[in-house]
């Protein structure tokens, strides 16, 4: 028996194995040229001569084949770009369920990647159904014929008794200032920065946002993420559709602050990012190979790996956050722009929300809760797979905490984290709204609309590497060229229009023309424990 070194990597140790057919291959080279990970290459392989050929002195011949690399720096991630470009159907990656990659990775230090958690989890949202249907007690609406009023508040809402209203005869008049509240579409494009995304991907989302606002009449807002904003957007009218994000790295804010005097319109809002559902407790992370010259310019940094701290420097309590960040950011825009806060869902979320609700300045304009099914551009795998809090019960906890005090709706609840994972974003949104959310935010689904091929089962997830094969999460100019901005934006626009139609299709049978925020009686579940936890009806 021959000796074997079992530590050597073989293809069958890897998570993805290339299924290659020499007979179909025409050796055009498209697959090799398009693999951004250099996971495949042409090699000359010895082969026995077929027996039917005339006998000669040479028994061996060579043929040129595509071969998968076992170099740890060039491992196939299963993205399937090779299959996409192959004109002959000669190559495709196949998932290897017997792979040893997780263990091999453990031997090479903490593994980092992008995407979502890869451990399969049961989603609460999938156990909920819209079970309260209008059947003769009241008429269902016609989703095609009735008008629907799908708007959500973004900003600090005052209790009616605190409104600055005076009675003049038979009418009311506003007699003093009050916090700004914008009524926007109940879907926000979540915070994904320039840097994490390619400029083209970010531009596609911004284009879609503008089109939805100006051509479709849907006031959808886009959050910039913590990576700065292009100067020409800062000084354009389109800024009105953009929520500026400030996170612990403050990246890009030097430019933003300097641009304030030149702004022709106020931004749609400011979102203070405290944490993120995909990797709660971690700050942002952008590897040096994604910090290309234009990213350096917009963020005002040298080329280096950019770590945002896990918390905002100098903020050690909720009260401080209100008094320092909320007040100063409100003041920066003349108290005309809602300032909201985004936290990773956590066992402590209710405490945070209660504190904000009771804040005497009444200055927090929204509580964004991000659940553990959210995505990220880069994180430690252990964080992605093992930290976080499901969004559904935490949203419900926060809503009920506010309800107990009669404060529901005063700080709008916006939730996200894995919405639309199964391409049912409208259904997910509707259920969360019934449980108390004012609106939802989505991120990863937008990337999938742009062409992202990653999934929750380990496919690709290379957002951190700078080698994104779809040109979405990379700054490599050759890869970015693969992304068609206009088609990407069109996909996102069509997604939102469909989201709108599907939302109406869910509103119509429950007989509502405006958002049923907190209408938990519209939901049922076939899971007894979920029914108890969320306070909704059990059905079987």
């Amino acid at each position: 028996m021959d000796t074997v070194n079992v530590q050597d990597l073989a293809v069958n140790d890897l998570a993805w194995m290339i299924d290659y057919s020499y007979d179909l291959c025409v050796h055009c080279g498209a697959c090799v040229a398009s693999c951004s990970f250099n996971a495949i290459s042409f090699v000359a392989q010895h082969t026995l001569l077929p027996p039917e050929l005339p006998k000669s002195s040479k028994k061996l011949a060579q043929k040129i084949i595509v071969k998968q690399s076992t170099d740890p720096t060039k491992i196939c991630c299963g993205c399937g770009i090779c299959a996409k470009v192959c004109p002959c159907g000669a190559i495709t990656p196949i998932h290897n369920p017997h792979n040893r990659e997780p263990f091999l990775n453990q031997a090479q230090g903490p593994r980092r990647r992008g995407g979502r958690g890869n451990l399969s989890k049961k989603r609460t949202l999938d156990a909920l159904f819209v079970g309260r249907i209008s059947q003769m007690t009241d008429p269902p609406l016609d989703a095609e014929r009735h008008t629907f009023d799908l708007r959500a508040p973004f900003g600090r809402v005052l209790a009616a008794k605190d409104l600055p209203l005076e009675v003049h005869g038979n009418s009311l008049r506003v007699c003093a200032s009050h916090p700004p509240v914008a009524w926007i579409y109940p879907l926000i494009f979540s915070d994904m920065s320039i840097g994490a995304l390619s400029t083209r991907a970010w531009e596609a989302i911004a284009l879609a946002t503008g089109y939805l606002n100006e051509e479709c009449g849907l006031p959808v807002r886009m959050c910039s993420g913590e990576g700065g904003v292009p100067q020409n957007l800062l000084t354009s009218d389109k800024l009105a559709y953009t929520i500026l994000q400030i996170a612990s790295g403050h990246f890009g804010w030097n430019r933003i602050v300097r641009a304030i005097p030149q702004m022709r319109t106020d931004p749609a809002g400011v979102l203070i990012k405290i944490g993120q559902g995909a990797k709660p407790g971690d700050g942002g992370w952008l590897s040096a190979n994604k910090v290309s010259p234009h990213i350096q310019a917009i963020r005002g940094v040298p080329q280096t790996t950019l770590h945002s701290p896990p918390n905002h420097q100098g903020l050690y309590s909720i009260e401080e956050s209100v008094q320092k960040m909320h007040l100063s950011l409100n003041q920066a825009f003349g108290f005309r722009v809602p300032v909201a806060i985004k936290c990773a869902a956590s066992s402590t979320s209710v405490a945070v929300y209660n504190n904000l609700l009771r804040d005497p300045y009444r200055i927090c304009g929204g509580f964004f809760l991000d659940g553990l099914d959210g995505g990220t551009g880069a994180a430690n795998t252990v964080a992605l797979n093992h930290t976080g809090h499901p969004i559904t019960s935490k949203l419900r906890d926060c809503y009920r905490a506010a309800t107990t005090q009669g404060l529901q709706g005063q700080i709008p609840l916006w939730v996200g984290g894995g919405l639309g994972m199964h391409a049912d974003a409208a259904a997910d949104a509707f259920k969360l709204i019934c449980l108390g959310a004012n609106g939802v935010f989505v991120g990863r689904v937008l990337l999938q609309l742009l062409g992202c091929v990653g999934n929750e089962h380990g496919r690709c997830n290379q957002c951190h590497s700078g080698k994104c094969p779809t040109g979405i999460c990379t700054q490599d100019i050759r890869l970015v060229q693969r992304l068609d901005v206009d088609r990407g934006a069109e996909n996102i626009v069509n997604f939102v229009l469909n989201f709108d139609r599907e939302l109406k299709k869910l509103l119509a049978p429950v007989g509502n023309s405006s958002l049923p925020v907190g209408r938990s009686d519209a939901l049922i579940t076939n899971d007894w424990a979920i029914a108890q936890s969320l306070g909704i009806a059990f059905a079987c």
Binding site: T137, D138, D149, L163, V167, S171, L172, H178, G409
Partner: protein
Amino acid sequence: MCRIGAIKSRSPQSPKAALQLMLPQQEGHDSSGFAMVMQDLYGAFAHDKEKPLLSMACTVRGLALVNEYMDHHGFAQLGQWVPDVCKDKSLNIHAMPRYVFRNYDYPEIFHYRSQAEREDLLMDTRLALRELLHKEKAGFVYSFWPDVLTLKEIGDPADIATYFGLWQDNCRLSAKNIVVQCRQNTNYDIVRYAAHPFFLQGFTLCVNGENTFFTRNREYQKSLYRGYLGFESDSQTLLYTLHYVLRELKWPLPYFKHVITPLPYDEQKKRHDADVLLLIRESLANLEINGPNALIALLPDKTMISCCDAKKLRPCVIGHDDDMAVISSEVSGLNVLLPNRDISCDIYPTERELVAIDDNLEITRWIQ
């Protein structure tokens, strides 16, 4: 579906008129209950109109408990009306052993207190009696307010009227305002508290419809005011919203309509008073109804109002002549009470309209 109606008249009307209004609409209700609130009373309660009138149905034990409570808290009984009930066993009525309709004088010290304090006392007393009777399973208290009488019972409305002698021309009950409903709310247990009209501190309200935003209305109102409780019917929340907007916030009447059926956002934005409407919508989003509803309400100043949901999914019609205005779910009821009215003057409130009839029978129509 239940049917609702209301009469506002220059001269006092007996409950017979209310029955004549409702019975032609019988195809629209299931004859499972009858309830009415009378305001600006004559007949048995023509005097002592400023003294609070207790309306309740109870057991013998319940009556003893109430007597003890009222004595203990300094209320002195004045007049009362004891119905001469017809105990014919063929009548379809779930009768209680005792029905109490009696005036009380305020406790001595409250003669020197403000009107607001008296009003709080009356509500707190009613809530205390309600709790007392509920705990002992001894009865139901419907209203305790000057010049207001409430009668509710489960059964066939015609039989209930026979039981209480309401068909008789010499019935000692009469009032210039009557709000009435036939049938209970079938979404919930058939209990007396679930029967409209509902009453709170001078506000009376009944609704035909289904409040699809009941859950969020209720969750919000629970902590809004101590008098907002019960919620045996999804329509009760509309009474509380009316009370909150007019009495607690002291906003003009048209804003009640803006609260329960706010204009679509795009329409609000174009209005000259957009700033006010947006603020109201933001703050009171939890009081929106968004369901098929038609409502009739009677205010403390005896103004009678009516309006519908924003899609006008439930009907309502108002007819009137020189001496009487009548609101009804169906025009068939109007035709019995006001056969000679000018039907071209009938008002069918639109989905954006609020109609108010003041004590001089002057009708005001507000378009949102």
